[in-house]
Symmetry: C2
Subunit: 214 residues, 2 copies
Amino acid sequence: MTETQSALPRQDRRISRTRRQLREALMALILEKGYDAVTVEDITARADVGRTTFYLHYRDKEHLFLESITQIADELAAQMVALFPQALSEDQMGDHAMRPILLVFRHAAENADLYRAMMRGEGGLIATNRLRELTAGYALQFMELFLRGARTALPLEVVASYFAASLLGTLTWWLEAGMPYPPDEMAVMFRRLAMRGVWEALGGAPPPSALETR
Amino acid sequence: MTETQSALPRQDRRISRTRRQLREALMALILEKGYDAVTVEDITARADVGRTTFYLHYRDKEHLFLESITQIADELAAQMVALFPQALSEDQMGDHAMRPILLVFRHAAENADLYRAMMRGEGGLIATNRLRELTAGYALQFMELFLRGARTALPLEVVASYFAASLLGTLTWWLEAGMPYPPDEMAVMFRRLAMRGVWEALGGAPPPSALETR
DNA sequence: TATAATCATAAACATTCTGTTCATTATTAT
DNA sequence: ATAATAATGAACAGAATGTTTATGATTATA
């Protein structure tokens, strides 16, 4: 995402130190005031770094924010990647499609403060878009691997976007509403709402076991 | 939404004139530069109104934007309200649940430029949230009227949020992707993806006719 | 450990936008 | 006709952005 990582010469300690400090400062400040209210000066003051230094590394606040989000998302993504081979070795996708959904809701529950703070104001758009892209990408990969080129009733692109949007949207609603249901219950409800349609769109009649509530 | 409309004394012509000019100016400018790039001075210059006057009517740019969005949404809402009694007089909801969806996709297609310009940057969040609230509200009303208090498998709140998020999200994706399918086709695809799960969540086995592609 | 390269820094600066105040002029409803 | 209200422009204070420059500090590396 950033440009200074050309070859062998490991990154200068000062660089990674500064950037880490800036990321941590931004996240802490978002928790305190919300994304919009945070200024570059706030960040550098908290990070104990000269304001000039900030511009040495990032174009603006959004640039830094995107890098930070990507790091959080990578956490989740890594967990999900671990599920791929497992899912493919099964002949029924239903149960395993459940796992990534559970992961998402649990991850959100664990980092609820941060999520909520991020979702407010301008930051919300940036974060949501980034996460939706990522989610749709993973959904697409997942489906392609599972289908192995089989014909589908609806374009995969559409199905993936639908899936990502409904997941992220439901998640956002849940957070904003103060998490009125436990994460695992949300995951079950979401699966019940989303999976029938998605299965149909992928062409197959769903294996009955994959569609039960539990 | 605004405060100066207390009783009989019809609103001063100057007020409605000024506000209309400001709304139109904002929308035109959003089309040209995108929401974020528009400043209050831009708006007042375009509207041919003193900058001071702006603050006489609106707290800030967002305030004006929200009023403008609400107006657009009301257009749609009015069309939808007209569908309610019709839908209720039928014993199968499926086919009529299709109509509002069609309306949404067509409305978006007709105002694609404006929608796209609104969806970019900070404005996107504001617009999306406002529209999602509105959509979820209508979905809730629709379902309550249709169900007449019958017990449902999942909380209506959750179903409505799910529905609103997936509709808005799919819509956004479709616009951003350059509308690769015609609006009516999108509506059919969306219905196919969403309706099975929603029907189930509402407790009933879906009437088969309501679930066919067409 | 010497040193050249690189990074961090503070101070100063120009710029842009915001939101408010105030005295004056124009328009409106009645 | 006139009292009430809206619109105006100028001026202002303040906050934040992003850049430049000269200087000091830290780092990798040999």
